[in-house]
Structures are given as C-alpha cells and as structure tokens.
Symmetry: D2
Subunit: 342 residues, 4 copies
C-alpha cells in the first residue's frame, strides 16, 4: 500500500533529522528565544530579501491561521475566503471560534479576485452586518491552482485601496513557488501581502510554519497571541533548527521541486490516458476523474482521498505528491492505471 | 412622509402604554422575578397549552438569538440557517462572536427542509469540520413566507431523528400565525420545536421577545446566560407587563391580524395593477417589483427599503405593515401607485 | 413592605413617562438614528461641555461594560478593577465571556489608585501573562464611595503615562456628582477618562445608559459592536427621549440630589443611634451594621440586601435610596430602628 | 553556563530520538489515527490500569488546559484554581480567551482543599455570578508541592458531592509520582479525577502531553475541540511514538526519578548550608532563598529564574532539575554555593 493521501505522511528530511539529533542534548532557552530561531529568522529574512518583517515559528497551519486572523481583526471584522478555503472547510470553525465570521465566496478556481471581493464589500453596507476586513488566500490553493504575479499584484492593490488586510496561507507555498507556471518570489509576497506563512509541515519538516508579518501595524504584541492560543512551543528551538535547515541551502525549494516533478509525471501520464481533472493544478495536488471501478481497484494498492462524485459512474480523487514521494511508486501507479484503463 | 420601512416605527399599543403608566410608581423586584412576569408566564403557558416549558423575557431579537444559540451549543457545534436567515444577514456576526459557525443554505423561499438540512449533514463528515447541531428557522421568514404544519412537522421529525435542535425565530410570529395561509398554533410550536420565541418588538410592544424553551435538556441555568450577555433587564417587570397585556385578551393576535389585513390590501391592489413580487408572502412583509422611476416618485411621500435590483429598469422594494399601520395611508399609497402606473 | 433594596425598584419619573406617552404613536427611524437621540446627544454634549465626543445610548449597565471593554481591547489585553468592581462580582463573567481577563485588585474603599495599578503592571512582565490595558473604575463605587477630582486627575495622568485606557462606570454617576463631597463635573470626566457612561436605569429612567467615548482612537465602528452584542434597541428613540428629558432641564441632577438627601437623612440618624457603617459612603448606598435580631425585625416591614456577617451577632446590610424614595418611608424606617434600638 | 531554568532545556531522551529516527521515512496516517498512537494508548491504558478512558495526545500544556477546560464547560461556568495555578499566572489568559472566568483561591502551599473550594461555592450564590464548575489542580504544583492520596480522595469526594469536574494538570506529574513523599499511582488519578494529563514536555519528550478523560460525560466529540483550537498535529504519530517509548518500559518514571534525585541532592546540601526555602517541595522544583549578592555571583555560571524578593537583602530563586540534569553540574553548583556561603 503506497499513500498519495497527502504530503505529510512521512517524518522529515534526513538533513533536518540529523540537525535535530546533533543538537539534541544541548541546553537551550525556551519559547523560541534561542539561537536557532534567531539564525533561522536571519536566514529567512535574507531569502525573503526584506529586513523589516517579523517572523514567528508555529507548529501547524490551522493554528497559524486562527492566531493571525484573530490577532489582526477587531471583534466586528470578518475574513473573506474562497469557498474552497481551508479556514472555511477544514478547520472545524476555528476562525468563528475566535469570534469572527468567515465569508465564503464562490470561485471556480480557488482564487479570489478584486471583483469577487468587491461584491462582498458591496453587500456589506452598514453596522447590521459584519465588516469585511481581511482577505484570506492560499498559494497553492486547496485545489492546486496558484496565483500569478499579475493576479497577486492586482489583489494587493485592491486590498490597499479598500484598507483590507491581505493574508496568504502558504501551507503549500513551496509547491506553488516551484511550479513551472509560477512567477512569484518570496520577496514579492513580502511586498504584496500584509502577512503570509511559509509551510514546513507539508514540505519536509516534522512540523512547523513560519509566519511572516510584513505590515508594521500588525506586529505589536504578537507573541502574546501565540501564547494565549496555546501555540508557544516550549522547546521552540525545534522549529528554529528545522527552518534553518530548510532555508540555509535552498533545501525547501529542492523538496518542493521534487514534489512537483512527481506530480508532473502523474499529470502527464494521466492526461495521455485520456482522463480529465476537476481542477487545473500546476502544483503537487492533482484531482483526476476516474471511473469508480478503476478507483476501487486502485485503492487495493494505493491510498488517496476520494473527493466528490462527478456522475453516477465517475468520481474525482486527490493525489498528493511530496518531498518524500518515490519515483518508483509514481511509475508503478501509472502502470497500474494503464492496465486498468485498457 | 409615511413609513412602510418596518413594523417597529411606532411606540406601543395604547393598552400596553396604559398598563405601564398605571404601575409606574409601584415598587417591584428586579431582573424578571416580579409578579408581572409571573402573571405573563402563566398566561402564556395557558395560551401555548403547555405547562412544562420555560419562558424568558428578553429585550430584542438579535439578543435572543445569540443567547439561545450560544447557550444551547457546545463550542464545536454550528447552526444551520437559510441564506436569508436573520442570523446570517443582519446580526453583525453575533452568532460567530459567541464562537459558533452559522452554515448558510441556499433556498428560494426562505424555508429549510429536511432535504436541505440533510445535504449539510452529508457534507460534514468528521472532526475537521464543525458539527451541525442546531437548525435555525424563522416564521414568518425574512422574505415573508410562512411554514405550514406539514412542513414544520416534517422538519421536526427529521431534527429529532438526527439529534438536531430545532429553534424557531418568531420575531414576526404574530403575522405568521394570523396569516390566512397558516395552520399552525402556539401549541404546535411547543410540540414541534426545542425552543422558539414570540416577538413583541415587531407586534405592538415597546420592546420584548418571549423565549420559550420546550426541550428539558436546554433549560438548565438559562438565566446565567441572559445575565452574562448583558440582557437581564433591571426593571424586568416592564417586559412582564407588556406580555401580559399582549396575551391576556389576545391583543397580540388582533394586532398581527391588523398588520396582515393592511398587507393584504396592498398585495391585492399591487397585483391587480400588474406588478410581480420577488417572493410569495402571505404575511406583513411584501416585496413588490416596480420600475425604478416609480420607486423614485413613491419615495417622495413614503419611506421603505429598497432591496436588490431586478434588472436595469426595475427593483424590488420591501413594504412592511404593522399593528399601527393606518388604513388611510395604505389606500393613499395605492392611489399614488395607480396614478404612477398608468 | 417598603423597599430599600435598590434604586431601580420603580418605573420612571413622570416627566419621562409623559414624554414617552406623547410621542408614542409617531413614526420614527429605528436603531438610534432618530431625532430624539440626536437632540439628546446635542443636549448631553452641551452639558458635558465638549463636542468632540461620541455618545451611544444603551439599555443596561452590564451590556455597556461588556461592549465597551470588548470593543476597546485586543484579545490579549486585560481590564484591571477593584475587587468590589461590578465587572468582577455581579456580571456573570461577562467580560471573560468576550475573551478578556479582568484582574482583581484588593482595595479597602472600592477605589483604584496609581499605586495599586502600578503593582499590577509590575507583576505582568511578559507575553506569558495578559497585558493589563484598561482601568475600570466606578463612580460612585459599588460600596458607595466617590472619587475626588484630585484622585481622578492622578489616575488619569498615570493611565496616560502608561498607555492605559481609563473607563469609568457611571451606573450611579448621578449620585456621585450630586454628593456633598463631590468636586467633579461632567466636563472633568470627558477630559480625564477615555470613556465613561452616565447611568439612567438607576436614576429615574425606565432603562438606559449613555456611553460617552472621549478618546478618538476608541470611536471607530462602535455601532458594529453594539449590534453584534444584541444591544441595538430597535425603537432606539425610547432612549433618546429619556435622556433628553433627563438632561434638558437638569432633571437628572435633581433626581440624584433627592436620592442623596434621603440617604443623608438615613445616615445621620443611624449614626446618631450609635451604629457604624462598613464603608464610608457619601452617596445613595449605605452599608450600616446592625445586630442580626434588629435586621430580622426590620425585614418584616422593609426589604433590603443583607451583605456579609460582621461577627456572630452583627451583620451589614445595604440600604439604597433613589429618585423615587419617599421621605415618609425614610422617617418611618428611622422611627422603627429607634424603637428596636432601645 | 549551566541551566537550572527549567526541565525543558534539552531535546529528548536518546531512546525517543532513536524511535523517531527509525520510523522517520515510513508512511503514516495523519492526525493521531496511526498505529503508534494506538499502541501508545494501549500501553498507557495498561499502565493506568483502566480501559474505559479516552486518551488524546496534544503538543503542549497551555494547549491541553485550554482545550480541556473549554470543552468541558458551558459558557457561564468557571474554573477554580489556586492562585499559583498555571492557568491563572502563566497562560496569557488562555482560559478567559475561551470565554471562561478562572477564579483564584489563595493558598499557602499551592494546593486546593474541599474547604477552600467550598468558600468559593458559598460566595457564588446566583445567576449574577459565574457558576463554579471545574476544579483545576496541578500535581506537582507550580511551587513544587504534591498531593497525597488522602488529600486527592478528599477533593474528589467533595467534587462529586458538589457536581464539580476535577481536572488535574500533570505537566510535572512524573516528578510528583516519583517523589519520596508520594503515595498516588496513575490508577488513582483515573479513579479520583474526571480528567488529567501526563506531561511529556517536562519529562523527556520533545513535546507532548497525554490527556486522559475518565468521566464518560466529557468524552463526546473531543477531537473536534482539538482541531478547532489548532492543536491536531498533522504528523500525530510523532506523539504516539514518544509516549510509547516513555511508557513501554517505565522510561517515564526512570526519567522523573532522576530529576527528583538531582533535586534531592540540591535540597539536602542547600539545607545543610543553612538556607531556607520559600515552599516545601519534594519534587523537581526548588525555591531556595539566598542573599542577593550570592545570587548575582551564581548567575555568572548558572541560569535560573529569580522569583520574588524576600526582603531587601534576600531573594527566592527557582532551581529546576530534569531527566537531563547532570549530577556533575549539581555537585559543581553546590561547591560554588558553599564557597560563596562562607
């Protein structure tokens, strides 16, 4: 049984494990105030090309989203997200649990636009409704699509014009930035968003997300929010060590490139076999549509998520590749699919 | 300028004012533990025909919704509502501010059905999503429609089967129960819902809603929630006096019947003039569609809300009648409309 | 049975009732955007002697406290209050329910000082603890004491120095300002606090508190918070009418002066009979200490709250006078007490 | 520089690191539904000697406290804790941020008793105050003291009598259970509390706490709360592996015994040198009182926390030993102290 269920099925890249092992019995200061976190922050600032940013290392994605959004908003303010957005679908109402409405916007490709956001603003006219204030986007999105520089610039311009906070969930930012269709860089994110995070959990870390706060007005007292939400890791250096390893030599991008390469092999072959996809993904999540009976047979040797039914006979599944995906497993999967396709 | 903007544009029915005046200088115990509240509760229990219910008098509708829903739910549980539902549209995220997601369901008539709710249940599969637990309905709905006994029975059966709490917002319950199309009675509500409220603010009271909790498991400690949310009126007897006056001689139903009668005159005449309505309302809110230029002219002498644009030339407006609506004003409005229609 | 239980045992002053009656059948715009609220705000601004303030009319005290405090604070910030403070003792955790810790400071007289607050600041050293940000005081306090101008100035200076918000709960502000020991005026409050409220419920209104926001940075979007917490009264003009009546001719101060006069009669006579008080109150709440058996006998004809036991034989009770307290009742009470005293 | 600052200054015990390394590249199911978590739960159930318990692995202590307490309580219910309790002092208002008041009770030894809790119950008389519902205790406490079986039984009996939830924070449970003064076992905790947790972070794990829910009525839907609060670790097996290693061969107790042994050496020698302690601790946290100038000199080679000043010349410090504390470092510290003592 080989798993394409997600990109966090294995532990961590051996170089990260080695670094954790090497420092294991050293004494460190707690709560992220150690030298490893300091080094990781320095390194990240250089990679991002901006110094006037605050970086906080957190354990997971839902945690990062809920802390950032609740710290950034006043009680009557709401987040806007695509209807596929993680905060709307798979976080058990974590945003609402901090008191804020998350407004759903229907999209076909998982991406928000100035026009879509504007329609939300138009509909919220007075104090009998929440005040839309934060725009939540994901790159790559939950259905695999990615933002172009032009799109992100346009969104950013609109948000600044309307005094909206632009927050980018980068749980799968590595795969987005290493996609063949990408033209964004980390420095662009720092310039175009108010805050974003660089996902580690889904790109080779044991766990960890690096939240980058770019907008000065959002920086104050942020560590209080981390602690209050139970997210301040006692042995914070574990995060620092991991992010230092990921970024000191571009390991982060190598790992994401591998995940994308594996996805591209799948995509190319699945396409050649005549199958369609429910979304156009240039990143490490693919959503092919197969006949149900083929899916049943594939499930005997592979694990993956079934998404929605397309019609009575066909369904969409999700295949996720990662830094750890073995090329052999991908080729075997294709071989099996070919055999079933006839 | 005559207002059809809403059903809470005037003070209170003269009999209620008289009762408030008469008792004005008496000393009473505070916080709803006075004899007037006791009398009002007794009277209501008789009208409802059930004794095993708890009644709490609150000041307003949003307040009642947020206290009831937050008292009834555990943190991970969510409310389901029609997309026109007041809690989703016009309460500034009051439910989310208590930590709970409100799940929106698209309907054409403002009413939920077992089928619609079931689709929400199907979509919420595990602990990565909120747990749908409370069904919020309004009668009459925000677009004027009302539930039939058959519909409410079916909803109730489904909710009990699925262990869902059925909560009915009765801000405009008077108009619903007095509609010519209605076949529900207060006793039905007590049998079919877990909790509901009888709106006073929109039917002749200065202010006040009577929340009725039918399900024993939802009753415990409810007064703590009222106080915690800042809703325990110091001079609670003001609510008791009003509800006693409204129900001791069926004044409540007389007032609602008047509002409906005024709406019926409007509806009949508007229909005869060839206009359509954006929703089919047998209650005291009407949503006629008029040419924009006619709306502009009507606005010189009448106030009302403009709803959405129907097309470039036509828009929908909302006309609300009430216990205080004068028949002369209604007839004048029709005369004016006729003149503009030609 | 005559009640000295509190200052909200009767309805409203006849002039207010008359004003409410007179306007009863007029049509008004809802939610506090009517002409009466506008007039009341104008009048209050003149009485306060400041124009650059925002005024919001709310229904009750707990409601006002929770909305103001939750609107003013970010999630990690806390309120500081004397251990007798209403938000700590009698609001069912309303502040905590909005997510904020209320820090208790022990005082002997119900009043905070710069020194007491500073000890809280000293104890809160880093992000592992909440950030004390808002200072909650009451005038008069829950045990009847009042602030002098010197005391309030000193507090105000300290709060500004430390970047703390100073919020004054004026549920019984009338009695404080009309106390013979008072040297504060409304204009002082506007200059020395960031926000305060003028209590109506306990000084002759049916209900209502006028929240005054002085600090510009706290004003933005305040009406959203009112609505979100279920506190935006549909028939908002009811509040406007009441506050206009209370302030157009200084009725507010006349009523408070009467309450104080009645308290003074009680205080003088109780003192002359040789009894002590558990707190030194120059306002309309008195806390005399009587033998338990005298309290038992008084309770046959008078209602009041029993506070704590002083020793095995003596207890403290609370006597509250109001705008509606009858001098005859006060004299009768004294007569009864004299008789019991021997 | 050697650190006695806390018991989470080093990584993890080598056996745990080895287990993590060994399984590193295996594929696992996410979110704690893997075979390692299952094995760890089985092992723990056997060690605890009870099968009818639910176990959830979480990342940190504040996280565990806030999720458990907010999941267990209704909105109006409050927690009671000793004034030294972690939830009151060092969690940035995490409990209040979930909407619940934490009531502080002054103790001299960090431990709650039936009598102390009863005084809280007596003071909370009606719906104008929160309803005390959960008793939060720590073993060992924040000042090093531990509960005896008699004490815990008495507390448990009282809580059941009063329908209170008894929750035990076991961040340092290892040290408590391995103290020479302890007579409690894990099975006792399962019988006497409604829920407790076994701390891993402070006893040799990289991170991790095992929450044990004993009371059936608190078990339902608990995983929803974990996810909603951002605490469901994607690679959940990391927690399972660690707890399996800690408990399969009693490593957990060996590590705690070592920490205690190191503390005992310190305690014995400090005592012999004539110094006093601010609290009587039989566990791995010691609070000796030293002259300030000795503390200054010690700080040149050792790090530790300074607690409160005792008088002008003396202060209390906190020395914490752990599974990783080296006996040589302890002996060096004592040598240095002797030298400074003269």
């Amino acid at each position: 049984m080989y798993s394409f269920t997600n990109d966090y099925s294995e532990g961590t890249h051996p170089r990260i494990l080695a670094a954790l092992s090497e420092s294991n019995l050293q004494q460190n200061i707690g709560y992220g105030q150690d030298i490893y976190c300091a080094k990781a922050m320095d390194t990240l600032k250089k990679k991002i090309g901006h110094d006037n940013i605050d970086i906080h290392f957190l354990v997971g994605g839902t945690q990062t989203n809920l802390i950032a959004i609740s710290a950034f908003l006043r009680p009557h303010e709401a987040a806007i997200a695509a209807d596929t957005g993680h905060i709307l679908v798979h976080e058990t109402g974590a945003i609402e649990a901090t008191g804020h409405k998350a407004i759903s916007v229907h999209t076909t490709d998982g991406k928000l636009t100035a026009e879509l956001i504007n329609s939300v603003l138009q509909a919220h006219t007075d104090e009998h409704m929440v005040k839309p204030k934060l725009v939540y986007i994901s790159d790559s999105t939950e259905i695999g699509s990615i933002y172009t520089k032009t799109e992100l610039k346009s969104l950013s311009r609109f948000c600044r014009e309307k005094n909206l906070i632009l927050f980018l969930d980068g749980a799968r930012l590595g795969s987005a930035l290493c996609s063949s269709e990408n033209d964004l860089q980390l420095s662009d994110l720092a310039e175009l968003t108010d805050a974003f995070y660089i996902g580690g959990t889904k790109n080779g870390a044991l766990f960890g997300e690096a939240l980058v706060i770019c907008n000065d007005s959002l920086k104050e007292d942020f560590r209080f929010h981390i602690k209050q939400k139970g997210a301040m890791l006692a042995k914070g250096w574990l995060l620092g060590i991991q992010f230092f390893e990921l970024f000191k030599d571009d390991l982060y991008f190598e790992l994401a490139a591998h995940a994308n390469k594996m996805a591209n092999i799948l995509k190319k072959n699945i396409t050649e076999l005549g199958y369609k996809f429910s979304s156009n993904s240039p990143s490490n999540q693919l959503f092919p549509i197969f006949p149900n009976k083929i899916i049943d047979e594939l499930e005997e040797n592979y694990s993956f998520n079934r998404c929605e039914k397309v019609d009575d006979k066909n369904s969409c599944i999700r295949l996720v590749t990662s830094w750890a995906t073995k090329e052999d497993a991908v080729l075997d999967f294709i071989k099996a699919l070919k055999k079933l396709t006839v």
